[in-house]
Symmetry: C4
Subunit: 224 residues, 4 copies
């Protein structure tokens, strides 16, 4: 059964496999739909020779695009790690997972608002960036509840993971909430600073996850 001697078997996805497939689908679509926010300036709104200026004027949409792309990318990596720890889904886990996907699927909307309204400044820029922060804050909730449920029902976890592990992840899962909540408050006063924070948080996660979130303390023997 070595990899070089493939054994072909017909199989159906396990219940967990189909949760993965559907979740991967939603996240892949949400991350790819973000590109629609980059917008092509309409031909009649750009005077001849003015395309470069028109593109540069939309710089905030590129920052928002990068921040949202990285955020969904991180969520996908963490989701992968999460589902690896779960042996089977009960009804509550399915619903919490749907709530998690609701957040991911909704993110392109505040991203588009930020892309459109940050340049205007004032109250509208604050409203757009604060809404992005608010939704990012709420997105942390299902993660927390998922781990709390797994702490209550450790028999849903893969062998090698117990209630204590789930409780530790539960605490860890809420770390993101105060960070995004603070950024949301900042957005009300300094929207550009908040936008920089959103990108910064995503980049920070990207760097720290290299050794932490994605491949946590030797749990699966480095098999990720």
């Amino acid at each position: 059964m070595a990899a070089t001697e493939p054994v072909e078997t017909e199989m159906r996805l396990s219940p967990t496999g189909r949760v993965e497939a559907f979740s991967d689908g939603v996240m892949a679509i949400a991350i790819t739909l973000l590109v629609l926010d980059l917008k092509v300036p309409p031909l009649d709104a750009v005077s001849p020779g003015g395309l470069v200026d028109a593109l540069l004027a939309r710089w905030a949409s590129y920052v928002a695009y990068l921040a949202a792309f990285l955020t969904i990318g991180i969520i996908w990596l963490n989701h992968r790690t999460l589902v690896d720890r779960i042996a089977r889904f009960d009804a509550r886990l399915h619903w919490l997972n749907l709530m998690l996907l609701l957040g991911v699927a909704t993110l392109p909307w505040p991203t588009a608002l930020v892309a459109e309204y940050v340049q205007r400044g004032g109250a509208d820029a604050s409203a757009a960036t604060a809404l992005y922060g608010l939704i990012a804050t709420l997105m942390a909730l299902p993660w927390g509840f998922i781990w709390r449920h797994l702490a209550d029902r450790p028999e849903l976890l893969e062998p090698g993971y117990d209630a204590a592990y789930a409780r530790a992840e539960w605490r860890r899962g809420f770390i993101g909430m105060p960070i995004y909540a603070i950024a949301t408050v900042v957005a009300l006063v300094l929207p550009l600073v908040a936008l920089a924070l959103y990108l910064g948080i995503a980049l920070l996660y990207a760097v720290t996850s290299q050794g932490v979130a994605v491949a946590p303390a030797g749990a699966t023997g480095g098999a990720s």
Copy 2:
């Protein structure tokens, strides 16, 4: 062959596996495309400082978004359960499944109509919400026909399920139709009440499915 000793095999998806993959794809895309209905108010249609008001004025689109998201989410969960019971697909099942996906793929359209026209009130709000209800009513048809076909050909079912089981599901599958049909009639007179009903039905399913639809009477030993 314990989970901690992975055996790597090359395999192709079983026919059922590919139905799952295609169906999951369509449902994941439809549920994620709903976000396009949330709309970003165009920059030139919002006076400076008016973004919050412009967003609040579109409250009905958020209700419609939530109702449609939950509805497709529930359909996905039920589809998962359905396919788990089916050992193989014949041509008629494939076509009935396509009709089911036609309903799911079409749902973003009446959702967008509701999001746009409910605020206007009058005949247009009624038309939009009634169309949503009509399509939701018709979406129940393929479910019923699928179970009726399985009752006629129980050899397509997984071991442990028989014609009597399929007949019981067939009756259960039509429960949703009169509920949505009534909501459609309500929409003609009171569109806002109908919109509340659509969200309410989805939330009700979400609560009741916790112990019923998703993990039905011990059939697979709780393996879902």
Copy 3:
């Protein structure tokens, strides 16, 4: 290893499995993107109480939607059958498959043209429906070339299928071309008749495929 005693194995998709996954993805997205052609009439283009009339005026877009949805659905079913017969893909098969997906991914475009321009009548209605027919005609080409290549290299086929089988499918694969070519010519004179033909061809395939294309003469012992 009975279905009721699941053996959980970690596996990677076979090369064929990944072709299936990517192809299913493209087809699932194309079929779901069609809904964007149904269009929501803009609020300011519809006088109060005029939504029902505005929706009825777009009847051609619903016919085009149904025809295109069924057409991609049929292609998916046939693709499933095709890949079931293929043991492995060489580079040429990959490229022919990409050309096949190019046709599927492009179909929403002429569908949108038909939805928009059929009501206008005259030369524009003819141009839109003829373009739909032209692309549907060209879409048959990769199917034919795929089977011709398999006739030349039968070692790529699954056991039980030989060059003679591939040659028979090659001839069968070209049946669609003259039908769509005739409909394209009809479109130049009678666009509404051509539109009816597109829907009719799809429905006809749907009916005849029940016993033919999807479950061909006992080849896999009814395993589909």
Copy 4:
């Protein structure tokens, strides 16, 4: 365990399997979203009988569509080959893969710019085609870094591949960069020539990959 005697097993995707699924999803969506760039001329912008002329005037968008479709298709084929060589993903590989997907997911944007602005000529046509070239140039970076990382950590490779193999691929992976860089410079002066180059490069890859990139020197015994 012959292919004609299917063994049905329940399984979960291996970590590599889920990277494939997510990557396939993003690439399938990006390649299918390109169709939105083909645009349907708005009804009120086309005088009666003028649809054919309006469609012909947008010829550049068809060239850009074909070039981008083929480019993403080639990337998918190469990605398939790449992941076949990798036994497991560490955190850095995950991030480099995300950067690769960022490029693919972003490509529909410069494609839409080219489709819209090439016909105008002048500085705007140059800006649009140069931006396409710039993004295509940058897209080669993650490929190079992935192979460099694999050269440093050959234990991540499948059996039969070593650091020397990864170093050779690393050099090969950068071939695309100078070609696209030159095309980008050409775009600044002769945008139409650059557009022809983008299509030509994709077609060239398509032809040469027949025997090279997709099925490289006998590594997996022709199992692709």
